[in-house]
């Protein structure tokens, strides 16, 4: 029951964030970039400004809502890219074996040796700041675990014989991979992807915080935190709320991912309960 | 009837076991074991024979609980005891040997230390002396080169050796009752006989009573004076071992005997098992004549039958 509570909470959080992102245009009381009133900068939370204003007089609440768009976009798309890369490499490596398998293994080991933030940082340095660069950078960074799982699942499926059976029946390689292997690995891949969305949101926030991700004045929770650093004494709310948003989003996806994992692996479920 | 017999060392009465209040596993099992006697409990998987042994030891895992009945050991009520008292009996007066020698020992601790631990906890010995006794124990279970073996780790020993170590641990404190749960099932056929013989010899020499749980009537026949047959949580027949082969009384027992693989026959066991058991099941459904406890003294209805 604790597990279902976790899963439900995660779902609620994620839905809230998604709604916030989608409806930002309608719900946000102010424009996140243009409505900058220096006269009312660094104002604490009030009825006019639910989360207060930042150093430029912009409404924090509106910026948080629009920031959700960035975070979710980065999270979902980069994870999609990760999953595609990881699955293709992993399944093909497990399926065909041989030198391709060795190559993919070596590549995965190398990728695992480079901390993801470092790698993403390096790529951002090359591509320059901005949303497209973030998508590419994060998309290229976190596919290793997906690849591992895809590969080991493919190997175990191969050993179970029905791949062999399908081959004998005359099915082509691509067909087999699509119809036999893919459906079976979808579960674990989904779990990793869900947990990975949380990680991608954190990475995007970190990169934007460092100044190499989304540049101001475009609101991103990360760069909002960076701006709020100087104001921490006078306007702590400018730092509290964006960070809280990151926390809630990542927590939501983590709980969701954990819940999915426990649902897919009944053995694990009885152990944790 | 029992006036000439000594008091039983173990007395199980109407033992019930289950998960929660809905799922019953044991439906009221009763039997006695006399001091120094070897008693066999036979049945198929799921008959409840293993959990009976675990219940006596007090090693039932959560959700399983005892829901009724009593277990008396040397006249003492095991189920009513405080956990601490019960723990003190474990290993010292009642010991158990399990089925899987491969996983039953701690892989990170030497054999010698795992045996010596018995002496340290139950006899209050210091470690050096306990280690010496451990080597003696290894000798008694006929493990060659005992000093070397004492320094070895479990993974360095074969399955048969490990089971001998388990026996050494179990008999270290010369318990009054040894419960052996399928002790040779996981072993190679070639070493099974040796391990069983060892157990039989040692227990006979010390006067240790044995509760031998197995699905294999042959194993039980070699060692036990009396046998109890279990079917789906009930004890359905109890006889001297000699007689049970020649004169099985309960249809279930007959089915069990018929399903044993016999040397020389084609397709041993399998086909026999299906047809015989089908017959048994059909007979039960027809006559609703189960469960009756059939003893040499005549059929006796078990309490709670028909529930």
């Amino acid at each position: 029951m604790v597990l279902r509570f976790n899963f439900t909470l995660g779902l609620v959080l994620v839905v809230l964030v998604v709604l916030g992102a989608i409806l930002a245009g309608h719900v946000a009381p102010y424009d996140p970039i243009m409505d900058a009133d220096l006269m009312s900068s660094e104002m604490p939370p009030s009825w006019e400004h639910w989360m207060g204003t930042d150093g430029q007089g912009r409404d924090v609440f509106s910026r948080v809502l629009y920031g959700a768009r960035v975070s979710l976009t980065v999270g979902l798309i980069s994870q999609l890219i990760n999953s595609v890369i990881g699955t293709s490499l992993g399944v093909s490596a497990g399926y065909f074996g041989g030198w391709w398998d060795d190559f993919v293994n070596g590549l995965t080991n190398v990728m695992l040796a480079i901390p993801s933030l470092v790698f993403a940082l390096a790529i951002m340095a090359v591509l320059g700041p901005g949303l497209p660069s973030l998508l590419i950078a994060l998309g290229l960074t976190n596919w290793s675990w997906t690849c591992r799982i895809a590969r080991s699942s493919t190997l175990s499926l191969k050993n179970q014989g029905f791949v062999q059976a399908a081959k004998t029946a005359g099915f082509g390689d691509l067909n087999i991979m699509r119809t036999q292997i893919l459906p079976n690995i979808l579960g674990p891949v989904l779990v990793i992807a869900t947990l990975g969305i949380g990680g991608a949101v954190l990475s995007e926030a970190a990169l934007s915080f460092l100044g190499v991700g989304i540049r101001p004045p475009q609101p991103s929770w990360g760069n909002m935190l960076s701006d709020a650093r100087e104001l921490i004494r006078t306007a702590p709310w400018a730092a509290i709320f964006p960070g809280l948003a990151i926390f809630a989003t990542v927590l939501g996806f983590n709980l969701l991912g954990d819940g999915l994992r426990d649902m897919l692996d009944p053995h694990m479920r009885t152990r944790k309960a | 009837m029992s006036d000439l017999l000594p008091d039983p060392i173990l007395s199980v009465r109407d033992l019930r076991l289950g998960i929660g209040s809905s799922h019953r596993i044991l439906h009221g099992v009763s039997f006695d074991i006399l001091p120094g006697e070897a008693y066999g409990l036979v049945g198929e998987s799921g008959s409840g024979k293993s959990v009976t042994g675990l219940a006596i030891m007090g090693l039932l895992k959560r959700p399983l609980t005892v829901t009724g009945g009593t277990i008396h050991f040397q006249g003492r009520d095991l189920l009513g005891m405080r956990p601490r008292e019960r723990r003190q009996l474990r290993g010292d007066r009642i010991a158990m040997v399990f089925q899987e020698p491969m996983t039953a020992l701690n892989p990170l601790v030497t054999i010698g230390r795992q045996i010596a631990e018995m002496f340290v906890i139950h006899r209050g010995m210091g470690w050096p002396e306990a280690r010496r006794k451990a080597v003696e124990a290894l000798e008694s279970v006929r493990v060659p080169a005992p000093e070397e073996r004492a320094r070895a780790y479990p993974h360095q020993l074969s399955g048969g050796m490990r089971q001998r170590v388990m026996i050494a641990i179990a008999l270290a404190c010369r318990p009054d009752l040894l419960i052996a749960d399928e002790p040779t099932t996981a072993l190679d056929v070639t070493v099974q006989a040796g391990v069983l013989e060892l157990m039989a010899d040692l227990c006979r020499a010390e006067g240790t009573a044995v509760l031998l749980v197995s699905h294999d009537l042959g194993v039980i026949a070699n060692m036990c004076q009396r046998v109890g047959v279990m079917d789906r949580g009930r004890l359905v027949e109890e006889q001297d071992t000699r007689n049970i082969f020649t004169n099985p009384l309960h249809p279930y027992t007959r089915g069990l005997l018929a399903s044993r693989p016999r040397l020389g026959s084609r397709e041993p066991g399998q086909r026999g098992r299906l047809t015989e058991l089908e017959e048994v099941v059909a007979a039960k459904d027809r006559g609703r004549d189960m469960p009756t406890l059939i003893t040499p003294r005549g059929p006796r209805l078990v309490e709670g039958a028909g529930a």
Binding site: N6, A113, A122, G211, P236 | L59, H155
Partner: protein, 311 residues
């Protein structure tokens, strides 16, 4: 054992080479570098000449493969190149940053272990209890927490408001300065350790040999001490080791936040000014740290678990 170490060390080399290759290739795509950013004001003949001269000096006018070969040759002689910005050898720039980063990683891990392991242990000994659920909630929260936000909050509360601890800077030998960054960095590993420890203890408690130990009549405390703890230790050490290996890379943001003079903040600074040789050097050091720690973990594993055959 020595053969094992040698073998593992040799195994690191291809990985390092691959990392060098990848980083090199990535940065050769960079349209500009620190050099060109120096020349940002206007273009005239003099500036172009200086640019060409600088390019020559740093060997940037050579084709990619030649540059790569030169770099690898330099690596073989432990020469990491020259910083574009300060004209010093890259190693001289990196070296003073090493110990602060290592210290921070070790302290963060220390915090994580001291809090996380007991938490996970106790949670596993009472599975399904309120304490257990509570601990797991804390754990998943710790994993979801952005460490720079948490660090900022810590800074706000403890440094700026309460004034107990300094909010930035580094004094060798000072404990006060390392507390806040270590805690901020350590929350995530702490959460992971708590979860892993709990899972490990539960696994062991359900193992057959623990049932045997109970059958022997062992009391819980001795059981846990002699049988459970030892067997979980392997899992815990492995997790801790892997975390320490990854911490140097994860410390980037915390280092920047607390102005901690470590490799992470060096990396960020160098990336923003495009001081490529330093970036390459820093990445190499971080990866090397990870690989060496992994090897140490494997060695420790082999020492503890008698089942592992070494050499």
């Amino acid at each position: 054992m020595m053969r094992f170490i040698l073998r593992r060390t040799l195994q690191m080399i291809p990985t390092m080479l691959a990392v060098v290759l990848i980083i090199f290739v990535i940065f050769s795509v960079v349209p500009g570098s620190f050099i060109t950013s120096l020349m940002s004001e206007g273009r005239n003949a003099t500036n172009a000449q200086v640019l060409t001269h600088l390019n020559e000096q740093f060997g940037l006018d050579q084709p990619l493969l030649v540059r790569l070969w030169n770099y690898l040759w330099g690596l073989a002689h432990f020469d990491l190149g020259i910083s574009y910005r300060t004209r010093e050898p890259v190693w001289n720039v990196i070296e003073p940053r090493l110990w602060p980063s290592i210290k921070l990683a070790l302290c963060a891990m220390g915090f994580a272990a001291v809090v996380g392991i007991p938490l996970g242990f106790l949670a596993a000994l009472k599975p399904g209890s309120v304490f257990d659920s509570g601990t797991m909630v804390v754990a998943v929260s710790g994993l979801s927490l952005p460490e720079f936000w948490f660090g900022l909050l810590l800074m706000y509360v403890f440094a700026l408001n309460l004034g107990w601890l300094p909010s930035f800077g580094y004094q060798p030998g000072s404990i006060r300065h390392i507390i806040l960054p270590a805690i901020a960095l350590g929350v995530s590993p702490m959460a992971l350790l708590a979860r892993t420890t709990r899972a490990g203890v539960l696994d062991v408690m359900n193992a057959d040999f623990v049932r045997t130990a109970r059958a022997k009549g062992l009391a819980e405390p001795r059981l846990v001490r002699s049988h459970v703890a030892r067997n979980v230790l392997v899992l815990i050490l492995t997790t801790m080791g892997l975390q320490i290996g990854a911490l140097m890379g994860q410390a980037i943001v915390v280092e920047k936040l607390f102005s901690w003079p470590g490799i992470g903040s060096l990396l960020v600074d160098s990336v923003s000014v495009r001081d490529i040789p330093v970036v390459q050097g820093a990445v190499l050091v971080i990866v090397l740290w990870f690989l060496v720690i992994n090897m140490l973990v494997d060695i420790t594993y082999a020492l503890i678990d008698p089942r592992i055959k070494v050499g």
